[in-house]
């Protein structure tokens, strides 16, 4: 059996010592566990709130979405929880007779809806992580929060058209933010299949905001 023998030559040998890899800049300097155990609680809470505020800005501001989506990769569920609670409370306190019903309905709708929409994307073949997608969908509900507050400020006497416009603007903003995320998850021929449930989800929430 003959052996293979020969020499291999590398063409740009002088570049062998320098290797450049694209590295995403670190988002925030993460403290080690020991440091963060000793810090005062205010600092911990402020840091978490800053992260939530940062992600909220990213989701709400269309211009920021052109940047890398890697910043959304470290998901958290506090933000969506706060947003969902705010929405449920805003809608619930308008009907003092059936607050629990509305609160419960909104809460279940938001979390179950986000989970089902994510499951749908996964079943269609996307390989995103479930909680990251739930996180983004939860953050994108924030414009509907703003719409709900606007409608409360407008009051019940306002003509229906203005209330409709406020809710419609919130819906359009929320859908636009989440579509740009959802369309990265699926290939071209299945994109609409993944986007339609998102639109339906926000439509249901916008309907609640308008009607309650």
């Amino acid at each position: 059996m003959a052996d293979l023998e020969g020499t291999v030559s590398l063409a740009n040998a002088d570049h062998l010592n320098t290797v450049t890899l694209p590295v995403a800049p670190p988002i925030q300097p993460q403290k080690s566990i020991d440091d963060s155990l000793d810090e005062p609680i205010v600092e911990t809470i402020m840091r978490d709130l800053q992260m939530i505020w940062f992600k909220l800005q990213y989701v709400l501001n269309p211009k920021m979405q052109k940047e890398a989506g890697a910043k959304l990769r470290d998901w958290d569920l506090w933000g969506p929880l706060l947003i969902c609670l705010f929405l449920a409370m805003t809608l619930g306190f308008q009907h003092s007779s059936s607050t629990e019903g509305i609160f419960g309905t909104i809460f279940v709708l938001v979390w179950l809806g986000a989970f089902v929409v994510t499951l749908n994307a996964k079943l269609l073949g996307s390989n995103t992580s479930i909680l990251r997608s739930v996180c983004v969908l939860g953050y994108c509900i924030a414009p509907l929060d703003i719409s709900a507050v606007l409608l409360v400020l407008m009051g019940k006497e306002m003509h229906f058209v203005f209330r409709f416009v406020a809710a419609a603007l919130g819906y359009a903003w929320a859908s636009f933010s989440s579509i740009s995320f959802m369309s990265t998850l699926l290939p071209e021929e299945k994109k609409l299949l993944g986007v339609f449930p998102v639109l339906l989800f926000y439509l249901v929430l916008a309907w609640f905001v308008l009607m309650a």
Binding site: T105, L123, E189, W207
Partner: protein, 255 residues
């Protein structure tokens, strides 16, 4: 070297690298593993290397079990929806038999639930006198959810069961698919029924019930043709009755 050489490409992880030569036949079998080393191999009649994939205990709880049912593209779903609006052509069933999907039925039912809630609310707004309090009935959503999902998932189960008893070889997913796409006529019917005139509501809902029944019967005709007349009429009667029951429930609860 004049010996007969048979080469087997085996994965590197299977079997030991060294084996004593077994007394098989005059031909020597040389096992070539992936590292390129040759070794005297096991005789031909050893069992194949074990399958290393992990088979889950109950596949029903993994996502991968359900993935084949979502193997459709946007144009597939659009095409199926278009076919579902035309009840008297039997092209639907052969199209889906090779690739039934659960995406269509599930999201059509969900959209229908939402559309019923919206239409019911609009109907109430349109019909109330100006002095009545404005009241949003949140309970109708729960009711709609239970009714539509049970109609949508359990009726195909019953129908598939009956068809299989009578000898057909249909699968639950195929019947579910037909049922799901046939329900799409209810969505525009419900939306347009919110105008408030009773006669319009009845007309639209009866049309929706009739269209979905005809769609179901036309597409199951190839299966139904195999039975004698009595059984065929039983099944057709059941289909029609269930669709009209749905129409009645929708009309009286939501409008």
């Amino acid at each position: 070297m004049d010996t007969n050489i048979r080469l087997y490409n085996t994965p590197a992880s299977s079997g030991p690298a060294y084996l004593p030569p077994a007394p098989v036949s005059a031909d020597s079998v040389i096992n070539v593993s992936q590292e390129g080393q040759t070794s005297a191999a096991a005789p031909i009649n050893t069992p194949a290397p074990e399958n290393k994939s992990i088979i889950p205990v109950c596949g029903l709880f993994t996502l991968d079990y359900y993935k084949p049912f979502f193997n459709v593209t946007t144009s597939d779903v659009q095409e199926r929806i278009k076919q579902a609006f035309i009840p008297n052509r039997p092209h639907f069933f052969p199209t889906i038999q090779s690739n039934p999907d659960v995406y269509g039925p599930f999201w059509i039912y969900t959209s229908l639930i939402f559309m019923l809630a919206v239409a019911s609310n609009l109907n109430y707004i349109v019909q109330k006198k100006s002095g009545d309090p404005y009241n949003f009935d949140f309970n109708c959503i729960g009711f709609a959810t239970s009714v539509i999902y049970s109609f949508g998932f359990i009726l195909p189960l019953i129908l598939n069961f009956i068809l299989n008893i009578f000898g057909s070889k249909t699968r639950y997913v195929e019947i579910l698919c037909i049922y799901g796409y046939s329900t799409i006529v209810f969505i525009p019917a419900a939306l347009l029924s919110s105008t408030g005139w009773s006669i319009v509501e009845w007309a639209l809902l009866l049309y929706a019930g009739g269209s979905s029944s005809v769609f179901l019967m036309t597409n199951l005709w190839t299966e139904l043709e195999k039975y004698i007349l009595n059984k065929r009429y039983i099944i057709m009667g059941l289909i029609a009755a269930s669709q009209f029951l749905l129409v009645l429930i929708i009309k009286f609860r939501f409008f």
